[in-house]
Symmetry: C3
Subunit: 355 residues, 3 copies
Amino acid sequence: MNINELLRGYDTGNLAIGTLASHSALQIMHGAKKERFTTILVALRDRAWFYRDFDHLIDLIIEVNSWRDICKPEIAEELRGYNTILVPHGSFVEYVGLECGESIKVPLFGTRSLLRVEADQKLKMLLLMKAGIPTPRVYELGDDIRGPVIVKLPGAKGGKGYFIASSNSEIEAKLRKYIEDGLLRSPREAIIQEYIVGVTAYFHYFYSPVLNRLELLGADIRYESDIDGLRRLPVGILEELGIDPTFTVVGNLPLVLRESLLPRIIEYGRRFVDASRGMVSPGVIGPFCLESVIDRELNVKVFEFSGRIVAGTNLYIDGSPYSYLYWDQPVSMGRRIAIEVRLALEKGLLEKIVT
Amino acid sequence: MNINELLRGYDTGNLAIGTLASHSALQIMHGAKKERFTTILVALRDRAWFYRDFDHLIDLIIEVNSWRDICKPEIAEELRGYNTILVPHGSFVEYVGLECGESIKVPLFGTRSLLRVEADQKLKMLLLMKAGIPTPRVYELGDDIRGPVIVKLPGAKGGKGYFIASSNSEIEAKLRKYIEDGLLRSPREAIIQEYIVGVTAYFHYFYSPVLNRLELLGADIRYESDIDGLRRLPVGILEELGIDPTFTVVGNLPLVLRESLLPRIIEYGRRFVDASRGMVSPGVIGPFCLESVIDRELNVKVFEFSGRIVAGTNLYIDGSPYSYLYWDQPVSMGRRIAIEVRLALEKGLLEKIVT
Amino acid sequence: MNINELLRGYDTGNLAIGTLASHSALQIMHGAKKERFTTILVALRDRAWFYRDFDHLIDLIIEVNSWRDICKPEIAEELRGYNTILVPHGSFVEYVGLECGESIKVPLFGTRSLLRVEADQKLKMLLLMKAGIPTPRVYELGDDIRGPVIVKLPGAKGGKGYFIASSNSEIEAKLRKYIEDGLLRSPREAIIQEYIVGVTAYFHYFYSPVLNRLELLGADIRYESDIDGLRRLPVGILEELGIDPTFTVVGNLPLVLRESLLPRIIEYGRRFVDASRGMVSPGVIGPFCLESVIDRELNVKVFEFSGRIVAGTNLYIDGSPYSYLYWDQPVSMGRRIAIEVRLALEKGLLEKIVT
């Protein structure tokens, strides 16, 4: 698909920023409105009422019956009619589907070809390794497993279905159950990673092709059910219950990092930007997130990434502590996207930030 | 008592906003001052010094020897003399006492008749159930208890005296001890609730009768001693100590929620507003809080509510991430109350927001 | 050393604020810039690139090969040439060394003689006890130890090397290992404190000699590896691993406290200011932190302090909830320092805030 051709049909003096009504949509709308763009939301019919309370932020709500409707030619045409740049987020990646995401005839903010990598855990780990970013050891089923591992099902499932184990037999038993439940097709699809003992930390980056600058706009910790609740139960009751904890993301908690860690975190972000250029053209654009465990020696190991805006940025709708260092005003990730579009417009570089 | 009659004696061009010097008083004063109201604090004599450091926020401090002194006719008269609207908060509910709270001759922001419901755990659960909001199962002593339960003493005690148990005999033994210690009159007064495995989340709502709008202004997690500290101890030492954890609220931590949960959270808030109309006239006004556990399937179960401003809103004195979506300026719950008073004044609807 | 003499050589209309490029340097630079001071960073050569991304906040970066180079006469001379007031922080305390810190010929914001106390855990506990601030019981090796204790190595190590134990033999075994590893010279240097069961809370104070006012500008919780991660592991796996948790500080989490605790927290801060006057002349100036555990009865016990800005203040680069109560604008601790310098300048009181 020729995006530049689509852009040529656009009235760039009247751009709209659009997204799906989920994940970080309110933040994206708020940020786009701050930068004086028209804002468009594609919403599931039964959830649209919720977004109407924010009609001062949202100029138009297009109602659909299912997320995949966004790929119907008439919806894409309507979006193009409003000169829309579509911002993909986690729900886009998860619910719209790869085929549609890759082919939708609307300019996407960011790197369309990254969607295919996002959909494939093994490609994701490959990109991290190519970048020379430290990652946890990856096992195959049957490998000699030493110490605890975390096992993940393919796809962005918000942490659902992750589990911790410490032997092949334990892993196999659980995967068999997932297959029976229809959550997994083959045990080979599961990712088995060394479980790093340490604390999790999620870094929110923005790579600006217009400024050729990588910004660290925030960090968060996920708030996960039931793992973050279970640890409040007395040990005796925990043992009695014998529950296998889950990691369903319910929300996010704000975090700042030791300043002495920041140069390394920026360094890993730059390596990611560089490596992405070798794997998907033209390389990552705009928001991405490296998802790490930091151990007792302050080693940062990245076990996962997101190649688009993450929900943890919803903490910083009025700016993160770090965003004030770069911009000295309240710049959320949603607003940062809108700023990039505005800067690109001003410099005639729109084709550098959409694909 | 005829509140409208009290209001008729007021110089509404010179209203004051007042509260007790505890809980969320600084936030309420700060918010009222932002909206250019006169601000009045009723303070315990031995704590007044602390509030004097904030005299740019507080126009008048009335010193009392005990919280209940606020109910003396001369204090109420003084407050009326300044045209005061009194904002009740958690310390008001807990320390002033129901009889005084119901009869005090000063207009209260919010719903006076809700105080009686607030004072009675069983009425509170009834209101939630009437609203059709999912709640944990409630047991009576002697019921066939399966799985862990949480047992709570009556009254707003900031989490003190809660405990987790998993059998009738365990519950009875502990309640007997509370009765011996004079903390409880009868075992029947205790609330026994199914312990939902998941994570806690507290939602800060504001219902505006003037705008006829329900706003979600923030969310928090409580920081509780000793439960949030105990989990840092090694399992071996925990077992050695054999401590029964307590849930004394020490502070609050900020939280944002998955955006896909927000429509349901707003829906539950609306149901609460509607059901409150059937139970206490004219229904809830202004701030309230639904206190929930979110499980691994993202079910939201509400185990408790507060029919007034909660202390978790102190996190957002400069606005919560959500408040920027509604107001695009730093609006704390305290300031939101003051905005509602100002809007009501402008529209001649004062009697819709005080009781 | 005669600081007033150094100050007499300064062009006070052109002051610079300087610090070492670590810990809370970005915050300090941001705050100084907000108050329109020249800003100077002394950076390790291999980390300077990171700080160059913030050149709108930093007027000059002086590169050094090691932290101690800051004590070379030519660096101090260069700093004086720019009329620099140097702000010490945790990395200054830890990496520059006491001798250099005490003798460096550049005016320091704060109390130079406090550096010696900061470097000696036993003097620190003595100051707290002289202040009449409740502290955990301190044991000597061989004492009759009842209940869990926390054992700390001397020096500000960011929580590295702390451990929990419950008997003399356990403590001795671990200290022997630290000595073997060269982390400790003698077991006598270790601090053995009663482990208070409760939750930790760190209070950020600013004492203003110019306004003669103590402000509580924020609070935080430390995010520590691996202790805050380990508790997410299932009990069975934890026991299998048998890991001794560490407390390496990775970052910080925001916190607000029950308002009813604030008067006591301010009271303890005032006692600290008073007691510091008796121990180090002229007493504490500017930022300090009391580091506490709050138990189930809401007792606040202070187990440690920092006599300078702490990294937890990095949470509040755009202001903490409390800072809005005092200043009604976004005042970080870094900016508060700069405001104090400006106020002192205006009133001709510079010698009251530097030593």
